[in-house]
Symmetry: C2
Subunit: 109 residues, 2 copies
Amino acid sequence: MGLSKIEKFTAEQNEIARLAKALGHPARIAIIQFLVKTNSCVCGDIVDELPLSQSTVSQHLKELKTAGLIKGTIEGPSVCYCINEVTWLKAKNLLGDLFESYSSKNNCC
Amino acid sequence: MGLSKIEKFTAEQNEIARLAKALGHPARIAIIQFLVKTNSCVCGDIVDELPLSQSTVSQHLKELKTAGLIKGTIEGPSVCYCINEVTWLKAKNLLGDLFESYSSKNNCC
DNA sequence: TTCCTTAATCGTAATTTTACGATAAATGTT
DNA sequence: AACATTTATCGTAAAATTACGATTAAGGAA
């Protein structure tokens, strides 16, 4: 079926999974790392940074944008992308809390 | 094509993406949260906790196990699962570093 | 041994993802 | 206006994901 039954899970579980899934491809990690490294809007250079075709990169950018992790603003003929701080912090907190919630004590196997 | 060109990216990018992808489904988040909550080996109760069939849950468990995030030990007729601490901490660090690497200063759009 | 329980695997189907070339749309330049 | 640049979208194909029922495998209980 390929379609997750999102209605069966909590809003938080769906949200965490949605954000993690958006980060679940090396190209998108590369895009994020590039945006973080330059630490400002990046206009037009992203395609050149990736070993993928322009259309494929555009698709990955769209997925990151749909997930809310980045945002793009039109700047003349090109588009400038940067990290979307609000969702970025939400992802940081949700995933951070998940990782923090585990304690190695009582681990029996 | 559905196949990511993992050879085009760095080992770190692939590793982060691989771990994030494993967390990219609400059922797997639910499994992880359940294991974290009980904070010990969970034997046989996982299927009952999820709104999915036994075979589907088994498939999700396998993906988490393949990613290294959980481990299962055979305990009589059932299998006990728990968080795999080593990979869990690796994921925590890799994703943690990624989220920490972003600073909202100089954000222009 | 026979039965029951538990979990993995198989087979299958629908959907999504990944990827690329080609095309379209939008803006700036000459 | 004509052209070049940049990015999104369309069309397509291959592969992966998700899901379930049915079956298999393994261990414990009667």
